[in-house]
Homo-oligomer: 330 residues x 2
């Protein structure tokens, strides 16, 4: 069975671990979000691709969910001693090596997809990991800019705003201020990376793990051609709600859902994807009341436990998703 | 007193520490060799500039003479795990941070001289450290290439040869094979870095520390304009022999001296620089017999202890050099 998964970072990576356990013989292609990518210290950092790679390759910091296990921070401390920031992005020494290799290869002319394949040659994640695109896409978030103040905005009766890199919003500001818009800068001009459209066209099942529907899965879908390919693939597309009991299971998905005018409920996220894209949707048992609402929107829905407490629980979620896929196939 | 010093790595850096101790009020400008510079892992590494900076700034690994004290090697181990080499160049985590900052600044358009100034803002070496040039110069060494074998070289009756980067010759091969030539690639097209010629023109004394006369001081002198400026400065130029008792005090200077047809003796090195450049020369007391030979070549010479065993001994060497400078000034 050929499974295509659109993955963000932690949620996507943990789901994939469960999926591999549930379907050990499946041929899994992961289309990874690169809208979170950021250049730090002159190095290209791909947080979501790395989280998938480290998690499936056995190198992840388990408790933290991102970064490497057993990290040290000598490089970061030295950079701070040089007065070179930002200090709010936690890059460990082991992680730095990944970014150094990636940046060197990109500098030598390799596209990100080839670099990712080379890095995975070490990690052996057991899936084919593709970036959504080889082109540069950077998710920016529009927030209020109290420092700008000034007459211009006031005269027009609105607060001045500014766009910040997603990582600045997410990591530095911890999504503590309202997001007025989420803009995947460069997405309109981006092309799917080699292999992405072929994988979708050849898939038996397409899964949306409980990743952020706006800044993870949404950014992947913003690359022209990907959403269309999924809608036209003619195979079951099943998602798992990242919202449980009206709150994100982890992270701050509610903040960016608000920016796109979507309520932070399991049903609202399903409707956001829409029946044109989604055939099936899993909500948590606490959201069982949402099932009829989702089905009314033309999306088959089941309520099952959706807490990825361990690999076994996550594998059961993956099995439920694959079971629902078979149900909607007929 | 304005002192200009042409410095390589360890020998130059240690001499400078003694000079600062001997002449605490002097205004010292160091013209650093950049022919050893190498791009590793996509990062620009300047071993000699860094050795001077770390040594004078209190960050050097004292026993080793290069690199940072208290180093860890997480990045290097990870790069090896990715199969990315070379593994023979020992970059520690702390050191990596320096190269990351440098590479980022160069990528942003700053010349090496500005980058060096920025790095020194942290280290406060107590001297003005200038790269010899902002242009790329890479010292290559011509060696036999037994692997090439083949008919071409044999037909011409000579062994095939190849040029390797100086660091590959020095660090990987440990100068274990004969050097047929030392070529500062790019030197002919290089311009002295901003401040270099002004510092020489404004100097009261110019010193050649016991650095490698071929690949350190020699490379600096290979940048068009520097040798001429020194010869025309009209101030005492005094050097200290890196050869003591017919052998290099440290390193493998004899190997590269052979490549330029210079005997590995204190007197031969003085004659190699020549009386057109050098006014005074210090040899070690064990080489006292060389004094008359050097003086016969038109260079004032004194035999004094030249082992840089500690800062105090090195400061005495610096004092002897400054004293000799005053002698030759009249």
């Amino acid at each position: 069975m050929r499974i295509v998964v659109l993955a963000g970072g932690i949620g996507g990576a943990r789901f994939l671990r469960g999926l591999k356990s549930a379907a050990p013989d499946a041929d899994i292609t992961v289309i990874g979000n690169t809208g979170d990518d950021i250049h730090l210290f002159g190095l290209k950092v791909c947080p979501d691709l790395d989280t998938v790679m480290y998690t499936l390759g056995g190198g992840i910091h388990e408790e933290q969910g991102w970064g490497r296990a057993g990290e040290t921070f000598a490089v970061k401390e030295e950079l701070a001693a040089y007065g070179v920031g930002p200090e709010w992005f936690g890059l460990g020494d082991r992680d730095f090596a990944t970014h150094i290799v990636r940046t060197q290869m990109i500098g030598a002319g390799y596209p990100l997809s080839a670099v990712t394949e080379a890095l995975c040659a070490r990690w052996q994640p057991g899936v084919r990991l593709l970036p959504m695109t080889d082109d540069r896409v950077e998710t920016h978030v529009l927030i209020d800019d109290p420092e700008a103040g000034g007459a211009e905005g006031a005269a027009e009766g609105r607060a001045p705003r500014k766009a910040v890199h997603f990582q600045e919003y997410w990591v530095r500001l911890r999504a503590s201020v309202p997001a007025h818009a989420v803009i995947p800068v460069g997405a309109e001009q981006a092309k799917p990376a080699p292999g992405v459209l072929d994988a979708i066209a050849g898939a038996d099942v397409i899964l949306f793990p409980p990743s952020n529907p706006v800044v993870s899965v949404g950014t992947i879908l913003a690359v022209p051609g990907i959403r269309e390919a999924i809608a036209e693939a003619g195979v079951p597309v099943v998602g798992l709600s990242p919202i449980v009991g009206d709150a994100p299971v982890r992270g701050m998905a509610d903040k960016v859902l608000a920016a796109v005018g979507v309520e932070s409920t399991a049903a609202a996220v399903a409707r956001h994807y829409g029946s044109g894209l989604l055939d099936g949707w899993l909500v948590d048992t606490v959201d069982a009341a949402a099932v009829s609402e989702v089905e009314a929107a033309g999306i088959r829905c089941r309520a099952v436990p959706l807490m990825m407490t361990d690999v076994a629980a996550t594998a059961r979620m993956a099995t439920e998703a694959l079971t629902l896929a078979e149900e909607v196939r007929t």
